[in-house]
């Protein structure tokens, strides 16, 4: 309470009236309700019976129907969908980091002919949204036998996230002092050793940032999976959710449970990591 009082005092000194503060918090409350209420509504709907969802739109559930969850898990094949999403996202992120890190190191620290060309291609590629070449991407995947292949979808995700990731990692490499590496080279370390032993531990925050961005993008992707994963057994969570909704549109309570199962873990991870997440996001955007 004293901390609060001190802050209020500081507000008075900064020339802000309590009326202004009330207005600020009043408006913020409206934004919070508008943002969070729909999510709470889904959670509460997931615990109602099918009839109660319609009869009692607003209120809290009268009793907790936990079997909605087991039922939704079974009917929507959640286990399978989650496994598919984990395979696609995990493989894509692994490929992305393995390909982007040495490439970013090369364009930021190595002297070689064509470096400016490579850099120009990276920047140009960031401006071409992969969605506009959906048709040729589909054709290429078909020719390579990658339709209905989770690894194929992962490869394409890794490739389309590559330019931005190289760009982000490059800025991290450039921020490291060059002396560090010179010292290692005097000691006889080659370029690969220098990257592996000295630079890699130092750019871990950059790799984390690339992986966070990539995770949100790939885990939530609907478009590419929609194009390439036609076999229901291979579908990822977003595809599975939509298919479940279209098939069992009247089982609202199950459907709310499925939505909760898939979104709650992401929200929990975000809330736990939000400090790093928002710091990384704003550093990238405001500096650029």
């Amino acid at each position: 309470m004293t901390a609060l009082a001190r802050r209020l005092l500081r507000a008075r000194i900064a020339g802000r009236s309590l009326g202004e503060l009330a207005l600020v918090y009043g408006l913020l409350a409206v934004v919070l309700i508008e943002t969070l209420y729909p999510l709470i509504w889904v959670l509460s709907g997931s615990l109602k019976t099918k009839e109660e969802v319609i009869a009692n739109v607003w209120g809290l559930p009268s009793g907790f129907v936990w079997q909605n969850y087991t039922e939704a898990w079974r009917v929507a094949g959640m286990g399978e969908r989650i496994l598919n999403s984990v395979i696609v996202t995990g493989t894509a992120l692994a490929i992305l980091v393995v390909a982007a890190t040495p490439a970013a190191y090369a364009v930021s620290r190595l002297a070689f002919r064509g470096r400016t060309v490579v850099l120009a291609v990276v920047v140009a590629a960031m401006l071409v949204p992969p969605q506009v070449m959906a048709i040729p991407l589909f054709m290429t995947a078909r020719d390579l036998g990658l339709i209905n292949s989770r690894i194929g979808v992962a490869l394409i995700h890794a490739a389309s996230n590559l330019p931005l990731s190289v760009f982000i990692l490059r800025s991290f490499f450039l921020s490291l002092p060059i002396d560090l590496e010179d010292a290692a080279r005097v000691d006889g370390a080659g370029r690969f050793q220098s990257l592996w032993l000295i630079m890699l531990p130092l750019i871990r925050p950059g790799i984390a940032l690339v992986m966070i961005f990539g995770f949100i993008e790939i885990w939530n992707d609907f478009f590419l999976a929609f194009l390439l994963l036609r076999d229901p057994a291979l579908q990822t969570i977003p595809l599975g959710l939509v298919a479940f909704f279209q098939q069992y549109g009247s089982m609202w309570n199950l459907y709310f449970a499925a939505l909760t199962i898939t979104t709650l873990p992401v929200i929990v991870v975000f809330v736990l990591m939000q400090r790093q997440f928002i710091a990384g996001l704003t550093a990238g955007a405001v500096k650029a």
Partner: protein
């Protein structure tokens, strides 16, 4: 001579290492970005069903786009999408950021809370809102009933006149926190002395906003506009597909959904490719125009 030779050796001293380090990225990029990009460009100049041999027709597909009512309608919907989203995401995002900037306590938790929709998938967001909009027991119509505004109840996604706007609202709901967080970070880089100086000169709240906050925030506005622009043009497939699939009767059709239909329902791969590249050209041109425009207004401010 010796000097330049030496320089060249120095410049390419890591040639082999660089080649090895770039190889995995180059392979991935070449196979799944570069090759499809040029292949699609070629496909867009052909008539092709996806199976038989493509027939070269030059600019035929692109000329056809100008006369295709469905495509022009989708493009118009895209334009409405873009304009509304740019205005509302930026105005509301900046407004929310100013509120957060003035909040003395609980700023962190509130910022995290408004960011939550950003982390949700479009599929989840779209399905959530298709329930909010449900005409029979959706949250929105129930809310209107609750406030005694039953006359305003609508079939939010079923009415061709309002379905597009309903989708725009969802997109703004999902991304508001994202733009607000970036604006907040920008606001916090403005030195406090500028406001103090303006206050001493007798500037009121609006004058301070107009002549200190806004000019200082222009680079951040630019980032938000560019991010919102490409998003509104090409990343709207998911949300439209989940909410309305382009209906009712193409009222919410955007270029991306039309492109997928043209390719996979009509089997017209060449024409669909041309749609993709035409959209890309339009986005690129709009970005360039906007950048020029904003640079000019920056001077005016």
């Amino acid at each position: 001579m010796a000097g330049s030779a030496f320089f060249r050796v120095r410049r390419d001293s890591d040639g082999l290492a660089a080649m090895l380090m770039l190889a995995p990225a180059a392979l991935l990029f070449g196979l799944f970005v570069l090759w499809p990009f040029f292949r699609g460009l070629w496909l867009s100049l052909t008539r092709w069903d996806g199976f038989s041999a493509p027939i070269f027709i030059g600019a035929g597909n692109y000329l056809k786009l100008f006369r295709d009512g469905l495509f022009l309608g989708a493009l118009e919907n895209n334009a409405i999408f873009v304009v509304l989203i740019l205005i509302f995401k930026n105005a509301l995002g900046l407004g929310l950021a100013i509120l957060l900037d003035r909040a003395l306590f609980l700023r962190g938790p509130i910022r995290a809370a408004v960011f939550i929709p950003v982390t949700l998938s479009f599929a989840a967001t779209g399905l959530l809102w298709s329930w909010i909009y449900n005409p029979i027991f959706g949250l929105l119509n129930a809310a209107l009933d609750l406030f005694g505004l039953s006359g305003l109840k609508q079939s939010w996604l079923g009415d061709a006149d309002i379905a597009l706007y309903s989708i725009v609202v969802v997109d703004i709901w999902k991304w508001l926190g994202f733009h607000a967080v970036i604006y907040l970070a920008g606001l916090q880089t403005i030195p406090h002395e500028l406001y103090e100086a303006a206050k001493i000169d007798g500037a009121g709240a609006w004058t301070r906003f107009r002549h200190v906050t806004l000019p200082m925030m222009m680079p951040v506005v630019l980032i938000n506009v560019i991010l919102g622009l490409s998003g509104a043009f090409v990343r709207n497939f998911d949300i439209v597909q989940v909410l309305t699939q382009g209906g009712p009767n193409h009222a919410t059709e955007v270029v991306m959904t039309l492109m997928v239909k043209t390719a996979f329902q009509d089997g017209n791969m060449g024409y669909a490719s041309a749609m993709g590249y035409a959209l890309f050209l339009i986005v690129a041109l709009t970005c360039v125009l906007l950048l020029g425009l904003m640079r000019r207004t920056k001077v005016a401010l």
